[in-house]
Symmetry: C2
Subunit: 493 residues, 2 copies
């Protein structure tokens, strides 16, 4: 079953003429100059100009654009802030780019039920800012939270530092209003628990714009914890740091955040942000505990003991709120910091079962030597969500190709140990080949059948997120068997 | 789009002959006497005998049964323990009943990743029992947890007392192996976080056997909390008890369990179990706090204060573990206890946004007087998941009809205030008409399209869970508008 878009030959003029009947001129962009700002998302490796950009203000206009695209069989790509890292919001040359940037109202904050209803263009951080006067916040916090919008967060099922304890986007969204390609409104979930019928809300989360266009989101708000405290632990060995992560979780503690950085990342961040990191360490862990005063005091003591027992060479707690924020600033700036020390870097995003961390980190180090390409590791350790950054120079002949091969091998390793080829950055354009390693043909076929149930003509963001079997054959990518119990040390019952 | 099954006329003899080629005689039941134990699930109002019951031992046999049913176009209903409360596992007269009772192996308990892989016929409680020696447990705890099986829990997305803090079944399942009607294996999720592709794992959860047959489940195991303590609070007014629930949550406390019972339920349970409940109270709340010692001590003190501030006439904490278990025994036995004081009762299951509790409880009391039918309320208050039990006598002319009308009005009220027509008992056969109130035609059509993407010939549990538009017309049931901000007291931003 093929859901790839067939290049359409509708001329821009005809499309514009039809769009002008449903949108004011102020909601249309069509000159090359005006289209340029939309040519890529956060992954600049892929660029394309759409036929037209639409900037509707109200839901009825979105509905009209979708109906028109359906009628004319023109592909349509929805986008929020365009900060995605996998090319998911890349425009199609033969299509409409539907920007939801003007949908930035916070519709209501319901204090009794602890929920907020917001429009898709609202920035992630703006929700927490609006809820702050009431002592509430929205938990998922992607590093791009100043800029990224909540509609895109849902489309990508975004994660963040606090998702270990508080869940991914899907766990913090209670309701969605979605428009289908035919302009039909679906109300999924709401303020009450567990709607009957198939869980289309979860299905929509992380579907990367292929199933419908999200026009309203009801999110859970949480009370701000009384106290948050961060421990910084240094290790002389990355593998020991990986083991410490497992030991903390095994003790029954779920930290608010549990992040790891290795030497290269530590030094790059320290040079950039002056966070006060120990630059001679092989790895550091940042472990945040949050909750009531008593709870945090108790857990800080327990985690300190576990870190020391796991071989940490130094364990420090942030002296005050300023130092706590500094510790996090270093972590959040790690990607751009690495960008300063290398002409180019390739950011990978895979997940593995947490217990495989020491093994996989050791294997990445081995491959780094094999490929003669340095790797900076900076990632959500508690979630087993890796972000190896491969450092390279695209101007050196052969380095880009070697980097891509190395990256593909890291992702295959993730699948082999029971993990996935993308944790939180999405598939978009970039991870189509690794998807062929991750999923068996029957599974890919089932994805396409689901797509067809929403969008039979494949007009919504076609060609992204789920490769066809034909594309997998072109890539030469093979399904990697997910070894059950791949390593003998796993306990058997 | 219709997905109702068309009665099939395949004679039992021919079906049996085909089944005998793929299953041993010991795995087949076909005499009326042998079929009788399978004629209903936990909802005895609906009964039917299937053509044949199959009891396979291994996955290849399940696969062969599904392929055969697909080839012969015979409908097939999968079932676990058959304890469901909505007729979801009711056999079809023209179909095969596929029992997964023999799949009761705990395949492995992985202590490093805190997960267990189990077969679908494993009893809910057996997972926690197997994990107990390692200090771990499986959190969702339906009242039927001694008997119900984990495959059915996933199919119904079961809840339980502890789901307020620890989530529903879907939040505690990390991976599924599913067979499609064509016998294809789908591996969904796994031990690592957040698989890419559409979230078919969540889609499968609560799909009531209409999309596939679950043959393996990977569940999350949690460390047993150091301490659990229960508070019992008595109120002279149900509405005050409802407000107390909101006050606890608003204070940022998420109890391990937060349950409410009103006078009728309190007295019935007390007579039956002698839990030590105050029988003169209009309502009681049971509030369990769990976690570390320090955390529980702190929260117990805060919750006690909130309960007193909300007008509780008495707040007691369980003196010891024996009394704690007694408090819970009364709650868990409440349904059968009510069964002892009334010839018949009709158990409703709806959810509402928590802040609507006081309002909805008052309205149910008003309707109870209007219909001259007593109601016992016993429910997951923290989740806003109501279980009004309408007491009636089916032998009194007109009482059943009046009860059903009353029940339907309660569910419509739930929808009107932004809730749902079933929280955790599923739709099955019983809630088909209320589903027509809950969902708009476009939403029901989208459900059918999803069903078709998995099972185009509608052979898996047809006629359950999602009504066709034609059936909604037969029921005369109309979509109820979900009022946004239905009551003026809701805060606006």
């Amino acid at each position: 079953m093929q859901v790839q878009s067939q290049p359409h030959s509708l001329p821009r003029d005809r499309l514009l003429e039809a769009l002008r009947r449903i949108l004011p001129e102020s909601a249309l962009r069509h000159t090359t100059e005006d289209l340029r700002p939309y040519e890529c998302d956060g992954l600049s490796a892929y660029r394309a100009l759409p036929l037209v950009v639409c900037l509707p203000d109200i839901i009825e206009q979105v509905q009209a654009v979708l109906r028109l695209c359906h009628e004319l069989q023109v592909p349509v790509v929805a986008r929020g802030a365009g900060t995605g890292l996998s090319g998911g919001a890349l425009p199609l040359e033969n299509g409409v780019l539907l920007s939801l940037a003007r949908f930035k109202r916070i519709i209501d904050i319901d204090l009794e039920n602890h929920v907020a209803r917001v429009e898709p263009g609202v920035r992630n951080l703006a929700i927490s800012q609006a809820a702050a006067p009431y002592g509430l916040y929205y938990a998922p916090d992607p590093s791009s939270q100043i800029a990224c919008s909540i509609g895109g967060n849902v489309a990508e099922n975004s994660g963040g530092v606090h998702c270990l304890k508080y869940g991914l986007t899907v766990h913090n969204v209670l309701g969605l209003k979605v428009l289908t390609i035919e302009g039909e409104l679906l109300e999924l979930g709401g303020k009450a628990l567990d709607a009957p019928g198939y869980d289309l809300l979860a299905l929509m989360s992380g579907s990367e714009g292929l199933l419908g266009v999200i026009i309203e989101i009801t999110v859970k708000l949480l009370p701000k914890p009384e106290r948050a405290q961060v421990l910084l632990a240094a290790f002389d060995d990355v593998v020991k740091a990986g083991e410490a992560v497992g030991n903390i979780i095994a003790a029954g503690i779920i930290p608010g955040g549990l992040e790891m950085m290795d030497t290269l990342a530590i030094r790059a961040a320290e040079d950039f942000v002056h966070a006060g990191y120990p630059v001679d360490a092989a790895a550091i862990l940042l472990c945040e505990l949050d909750g009531s005063n008593a709870e945090v005091s108790e857990e800080i003591a327990r985690v300190r003991e576990i870190l020391q027992g796991s071989g940490a060479t130094e364990v420090r707690s942030a002296r005050d709120e300023t130092e706590r924020l500094k510790f996090w600033a270093g972590r959040k700036a790690a990607f751009p910091a690495v960008g300063r020390i290398s002409p180019d870097y390739y950011c990978m995003d895979g997940t593995i079962p947490r217990a495989q961390l020491p093994r996989v980190l050791a294997e990445i180090a081995r491959m780094s030597a094999e490929y003669h390409l340095p790797v900076a590791n900076v990632f959500h350790a508690g979630d087993g969500n890796l972000h190896p950054l491969i450092l390279f120079d695209a101007n050196k002949p052969g380095e880009l190709a070697r980097t891509e091969e190395f990256g593909q091998r890291i992702l295959e390793l993730c699948v082999e140990v029971g993990g996935t080829v993308t944790g939180e950055h999405g598939v978009g354009m970039e991870k189509l080949a690794p998807m062929c390693s991750q999923f068996a043909p029957a599974e890919l076929e089932q994805f396409h059948a689901v797509k067809k149930a929403f969008d039979p003509d494949a007009l919504l963001n076609p060609g992204k997120a789920v490769p066809t079997l034909a594309r997998c054959a072109e890539f030469g990518a093979m399904h990697v068997h997910h070894g059950e119990l791949p390593f003998p040390e796993l306990e058997r019952f």
